[in-house]
Amino acid sequence: MFLNHKPNRPATYGEANRDIIRVLLSPSMGYFALLALVTTLMIYGGYSWYMQLRYGLGVAGITHPNMWGVYIVTFVFWVGIGHAGTLISAILYLVRSKWRTGVYRASEAMTVFAVMTALLFPVLHLGRAWQMYWFFPYPNQRYLWVNFKSPLMWDVFAISTYFTVSAVFFFIGLVPDIAIVRDHSKGAIRKVYSLLSLGWAGTGRQWHHYMAAYGFFAALAAPLVLSVHSVVSWDFAVAITAGWHSTIFPPYFVAGAIFSGCAMVITLLLPLTIAFKWEKYVNIWHFEQLAKMCLLTSGILTYAYATEYFVGWYSQNPYEWQIFAWRATGEYAWAFWTMVICNCVAPLPWYIPSLRRNPWVLFIVSIFINIGMWFERFNIVVSSLSHNFDPSTWWYYWPSEVEWGIMIGSFGWFGFWFLLFLQALPAVAIAEIKELIAPPVKGALEAK
């Protein structure tokens, strides 16, 4: 409908520059409205957190035995969202996948901002957030250190490493493009871009080292994709809680992360492509690849869900089986079935090529997947804790306004950075797009 199926490459390098730089620093009214919206959400989230800091975690709905609620659900959700970007930018780079080029920059930006959002939650959910600095091993007068045996400490290292590496990777990828923008801008803005471009000139030696380093970044980021969500899954799998204590969690979480991340890329990039008329660089072919990725990971997830149930039943562990039976039939059954419908059933139409090429179907199903993946984490975190070992403590958890507020605020925070990125930095990798364009050649001269 909006997009061609086949890539319709720009003719020249220069055209690529102009197409992509065109949308920078030219905000429309709609852009400002969106920015106002996300800022409002962000402020509301901040206000909610203030309430929590002031009065204590009692303003949130978390209670015994549900000590982690929406905060950790949303944390895992955002970490998961981050994964698609690194998958696309690093792993697909290493396997030299062609369709990566058009979408990787935006997905990588999504990664960085999603991880930035996720990073908020370990602080936000603390009972004493002002003691956050205790989580870092630094020499202090108390001679105290942290517990490296704790999965949360692994988390601190995994997430901060992930953020650092993906931010570096993102920034290094941007440097040549910022140099282009610098050369197309004037005045004070030029100074900013000039600063950001680090003085990139595009000399042969620079490119030589750059390509080597970029490869290493990709190689380092690739295992991170697999490790970070594995570590996050160990937050659950290492605890003895029934419904968490499962060896299947790392692959299951990684697949889920890529699933949700790719869906989020579709959700974000599809409207952008249409709005910014990027069809020469990003088109239905790219989204089809993303959709296929989702289909693969959806299959893995469905299998993982089934495996959990099978193992729960086959092991005859009463705690385990009770949790799974209760998830599907108890008070949180609505969440469970939302998850199943969104994650296992909703992507099925994409098996039909014409449907996965339809922007509407793509967009709507990707929204379903986003919702479904949030509920997957809700199921894992909330239902397992609600029906823990001792039946006398079973409880029904429902989030409070403050928790919803902080969750909404996190979407505002993410949207805020993403919107700034769209106007400030090239959302399609210009230099790499050029690699897909035939170079200008004047064949006759060689003979002379």
């Binding site: 800091l53 209670t63 000590m67 009972g127 957030a129 517990n147 070992f389 039946p391 006398s392």
Partner: protein, 1051 residues
């Protein structure tokens, strides 16, 4: 969840508006400055006090009309805790009520000084007014209305007042009247439950504050299979299971009011069976079992089996509770005689103080109405609240010339007084109590008066002197300052009249006159005060019948309607006297978990018939009016009965009592029994749905009743238990039929070591034994924990959110046995101090870790509040500070200085009272030995919970020391650990409860304990498959290894 209003929200303790908000965000400019604190040294330090070190004062705390010997823990000028006086020949423990006295002492609602018409006056003016009124009484009378507080005060009051009523609303008068009618003694019976093999109760809440302070301990002793190798069987004939009834092995749900018929029928049956004397048979009369069956709705077989049990054992019958009548008491006395109860088991050496029933109160009311009363002193009695039609009584009270409240606690009755002369409470005053015949407790002040209060004795002495009240007895020789020095040894003076210098002297001279048997009085007095008791062994004898005949008559049911309303004492707040103590409000009702309010217990069938469910409001119409209350559906009442706990719905009893719940007593009608005693007899009511939600809050999960076969509450066959006791068994835990032993043990058997071994504990690994067979669910451990560890009260709204802070949760599991009899298992659940604790691994900042003493330590100040530990705790025993809770002054004075008050965002949990462990160790080090291991017997009652438990269900000790009680418990045939298969290696050993309805586990079958099925299936994969190839060998090895029983169903 509940429709609580804003006011309720604000009323909760510790939640006040206005906040140190900026400082909470770190914006205070003083953040790097230590706030300057002051040191206030004594001017002249009392000899027995050392700053920073607790001093213990032997004194007594009230418990209804009784008193319990206690040690008040004094620290830096104030009483901070109450423990048992182990020297006294009573239970080495306290009950929750003794601790409530502590909170009563520090209540912010206490009247802090004399008041007249709501305005403060000086003591001088107040006393003058009272003196003037007394001396101007003329032909009118001075009346006293109060609770019974010992013989010395009784004597002084008797001298002071023309009419003295020591009113006790909870049905003790029926016991005394029945005793008088049958035996000619005005005394309460003493039940030697520890000798009993069968207890048949007709509703007396003897494990919930009824009877003397040791009765629960005696029951626990009877229940203990190691003493006398029997386990007492508890039969209950009552229309409702309250906390005491929850412990019953056989519940026979009779129709309200039919207890008397059943008691007489059983008595007649037993008398025939045991060949009782004709005299007894005649008194009992001829009541057939059929008659009883038709009146009570019970099956004849059930009654006959109860009677057979009664006849087959050394048995004791207990009377009814607040709804029991004089006739029922008399019937139970006769049943005891018919059963041949020995003198030790049943005699009338019980509480011998005065308990005046409704008849006395009625006489006072008549006098008031007649305008005969010039002065009415009201002390610690609250008829306006506790009487049906209390408002009438209030109207009568206002006809007195001068109404003076001499109680520092607010109450509905005290609110009618024009003059308030607040008196010191049990921790500030002198006194003497006689809890059972032959034993006297002395009370001494454990701290100076908190407020501007005076002792009641001092007030009476001063007014008596000033008003020239004629003393009934010759005045004793005055004892001045010299007497205190103990230099005087004159002939024993008689304590009487108003000549004593003060109340302390009066008490002293009373002791000298009544308890002193010669010798050096000052030495005797000193020893008495230090010990806190004087005991003279009174020989018990089987009471002799004096009555030739007794006319039994059933109490007429009041009102009309399709349901019976059964009123019972609340297990914590009793008849309402502890309603203003937040601990009593916040401690979950053991059976329902309900807090901060009233609820109506109905059966499932009743609920269905009414079309209501949990927390739906119903309107109950009684003859006295109607009230609205929320429904709690529980199989604790038969289908035609609804049950309501007394003790709530106050209007002027303080901030924690007012307007929580409904006042059932006001809505009842009193039935007069054949002896003129009032009883909350059968009341017929109609109940209809109010069509809306109520505001019930239960601390229990609403998801389930039982432990879902997870071996949290485990029962063993009582016969087998009685046979073997807790002697070390071949296979620890074999009686439970649970065969999923630790993975570790199995691996060791196969020569495989655990991935990580248990941590090394060279000297100590502290552990706790919880005997669920002894636990009665009374909650004293929990209250003691609140008192010892500065646990905040969070209020109704926060409990509704699941945020109560109790470190000990008494789980109630409602299991149905094979016999169809409900078995209620109370399982105190506290931190298990696991050897491989799930919580410790996951803390990122090492705020919780395993200490060298085997304690699961929690360093509050290191906690940043990730709450991960709570998620990782399979027992869910960690509590989180969702807010910073405040203690309204002067509750803060009760805070234990050895335990920090936690602020918001911090996880906390049971520490095994590490501050006390530290003190014990420190005391040993004070002796100069820095490396000694403190022997195990010292540890047994160190934690507050173990110290408090009235039935001694909790034993603390050192698991490293072979021979300690805790180690012995791990070898018992009934030991179990919840979730043992998780291999957390917890330090708490549970001992299973005796049950008369389940079969012992068949050897190797493992399905006997009412729990076998799930476990058998769950663990057969680990055990069964693994042992396929050596199944035969394992069978043969059963008796020696004890680790791995391949289960019969597993192959």
């Amino acid at each position: 969840m509940t429709n609580l209003n804003r006011r309720d929200f604000l009323k909760a303790l510790g939640i006040t508006s206005g906040a140190s908000a900026l400082s909470a965000c770190g914006l205070d400019d003083n953040r790097y400055r230590t706030p300057v604190e002051s040191i206030l040294p004594y001017v002249v330090k009392p000899d027995q006090v050392t700053p920073g070190t607790p001093t213990f004062f032997a004194t007594s705390a009230l418990q209804g009309p009784h008193a319990a010997p206690v040690l008040a823990r004094h620290r830096d000028g104030r009483v901070i805790n109450v423990g048992a006086n182990k020297r006294a020949p009573t239970a080495p423990a306290v009950q929750a009520f003794n601790l409530y006295e502590l909170q009563k002492h520090f209540s912010p609602d206490r009247v802090t000084g004399p008041m007249k018409a709501g305005a403060p006056v000086s003591w001088e003016d107040g006393l003058n007014e009272l003196s003037a009124a007394v001396s101007a009484k003329g032909a009118k009378k001075v009346a006293y209305l109060g609770g019974y507080k010992g013989p010395a005060l009784e004597q002084l009051v008797g001298e002071f007042a023309d009419i003295a009523v020591f009113w006790e609303p909870t049905g003790y008068d029926a016991l005394v009247d029945a005793a008088e009618a049958l035996f000619g003694v005005r005394a309460m019976p003493h039940y030697g439950l520890h000798k009993a093999g069968y207890v048949l109760s007709f509703g007396a809440p003897f494990l919930s504050g009824w009877g003397d302070s040791s009765i629960a301990a005696r029951y626990a002793e009877a229940r203990d299979p190691n003493v006398g190798h029997s386990v007492v069987r508890f039969g209950l004939v009552a229309p409702h299971r309250d906390q005491t009834g929850g412990n019953a092995d056989d519940w026979m749900a009779c129709a309200p009011g039919s207890e008397l018929v059943v008691a007489r029928a059983i008595a007649a049956w037993v008398a025939n069976k045991k060949g009782a004397s004709a005299e007894i048979k005649a008194l009992i009369g001829n009541v057939s079992l059929d008659e009883a069956a038709s009146a009570s709705g019970l099956s004849k077989e059930a009654i006959e089996s109860a009677a057979a049990n009664f006849a087959a054992h050394d048995s004791i019958a207990l009377p009814g509770g607040v709804s029991g009548s004089t006739d029922l008491a008399a019937a139970t006395y006769l049943l005891n005689l018919a059963g041949g109860a020995s003198a030790e088991m049943f005699h009338f050496g019980g509480f011998s103080g005065r308990v005046d029933g409704y008849a006395k109160l009625e006489a006072l009311k008549a006098a008031l109405d007649a305008g005969e009363i010039a002065v009415l002193l009201v002390d610690d009695a609250n008829p306006v609240y506790a009487l049906p039609g209390g408002a009438d009584f209030g109207a009568s009270i206002s006809k007195a010339g001068l109404v003076v409240s001499v109680d520092s606690a607010p109450s509905e009755t005290a609110a009618l007084a024009s003059l308030v002369l607040p008196t010191s409470d049990v921790f500030e005053d002198w006194g003497v109590e006689q809890p059972v015949a032959g034993m006297y407790l002395t009370r001494q002040p454990a701290q100076s008066a908190l407020h501007d209060t005076r002792s009641l004795g001092d007030i009476l002495l001063a007014v008596g002197k000033a008003a020239g009240v004629a003393a009934a007895a010759p005045a004793p020789a005055a004892e001045g300052e010299e007497a205190v020095e103990g230099e005087e040894a004159v002939a024993a003076p008689v304590a009487a009249g108003f000549s004593a210098a003060n109340w302390q002297e009066y008490v002293k001279s009373w002791v000298r006159a009544n308890l002193f048997s010669g010798g050096d009085f000052s030495a005797f007095w000193e020893k008495t005060v230090i010990d806190g008791f004087v005991s003279a062994a009174a020989a018990a004898s089987v009471p002799g019948l004096v009555a030739g005949a007794y006319a039994f008559a059933a109490t007429e049911a009041q009102g009309s309607g399709e349901y019976f309303l059964h009123l019972h004492n609340h297990s914590q707040r009793l008849d309402g006297r502890y309603a203003n103590q937040p601990w009593a409000q916040e401690l979950p009702d053991p059976m329902t978990g309900e807090v901060w309010g009233s609820w109506l217990e109905v059966s499932k069938a009743t609920a269905d018939a009414l079309g209501v469910g949990y927390n739906d409001a119903v309107i109950v119409t009684t003859p006295a009016g109607e009230f609205e209350v929320g429904v709690h559906v529980l199989p604790s009442v038969p289908d035609n009965v609804v049950a309501l706990a007394l003790g709530n719905g106050h209007t002027a009893a303080g901030r924690y009592a007012n307007e929580y719940g409904v006042n059932g007593a006001a809505m009842a009608t009193l039935a007069k029994d054949s002896k003129g005693n009032a009883t909350y007899g059968p009341i017929k009511v109609s109940v209809k749905s109010a069509g809306k939600k109520a505001d019930l809050v239960t601390a229990f999960s609403t998801f389930g009743m039982s432990d879902e076969g997870r071996s949290f509450g485990v029962a063993v066959n009582a016969g087998q238990l009685a046979e073997h006791g807790d002697a070390a068994s071949d296979h620890p835990g074999e009686m439970t039929g649970i065969h999923h032993l630790q993975l570790d043990a199995r691996l060791r058997e196969k020569g495989i070591s655990d991935f990580y071994g248990l941590p090394d504990h060279p000297n100590y690994r502290f552990g706790l034994t919880v005997d669920t067979n002894a636990c009665t669910g009374c909650g004293a451990c929990s209250v003691a924990c609140y008192a010892e560890n500065n646990l905040p009260i969070v209020g109704k709204v926060k409990v509704a959110e699941g945020r109560e802070m109790g470190w000990i949760r008494i789980n109630r599991y409602w299991e149905t046995d094979q016999g169809g009899q409900d078995d209620i298992r109370f399982v105190p659940m506290m931190c298990q101090h696991c050897g491989h604790a799930g919580c410790e691994n996951v803390c990122p900042v090492l705020a919780t870790y395993h200490s060298i003493d085997g304690l699961n330590a929690m360093v509050y100040n290191r906690c940043a509040g990730t709450r991960y530990c709570s998620n990782a705790c399979p027992y869910t025993v960690r509590r989180f500070n969702y807010h910073s809770y405040a203690w309204p002054e002067p509750f803060n004075l009760q805070l234990n200085p050895d335990v920090v008050v936690r602020t918001m965002g911090v996880m906390e949990k049971c520490t095994f009272c590490v501050q006390r462990i530290r003190q014990v160790k420190s005391a040993y080090k004070d002796g100069g030995n820095f490396t000694a291991t403190v022997p195990s017997e010292v540890w047994e009652q160190v934690p507050a919970c173990a110290e408090a438990c009235p039935s001694q269900a909790l034993t603390f000790g050192n698991l490293v020391e072979e021979g300690s009680k805790v180690v012995a418990a791990t070898k018992s045939g009934r030991r179990y650990q919840p979730l043992e298969e998780l291999n957390a290696f917890s330090a708490v050993t549970y001992l299973a409860k005796a049950n008369f309805h389940i079969e012992p586990p068949s050897h190797g079958g493992g399905h006997g304990a009412g729990h076998g099925e799930d476990h058998g299936d769950a663990h057969h994969d680990e055990a069964g498959h693994g042992s396929d190839d050596h199944g035969e060998a394992a069978h043969d090895d059963n008796h020696k290894g004890g680790e791995d029983h391949p289960e019969a169903g597993g192959h």
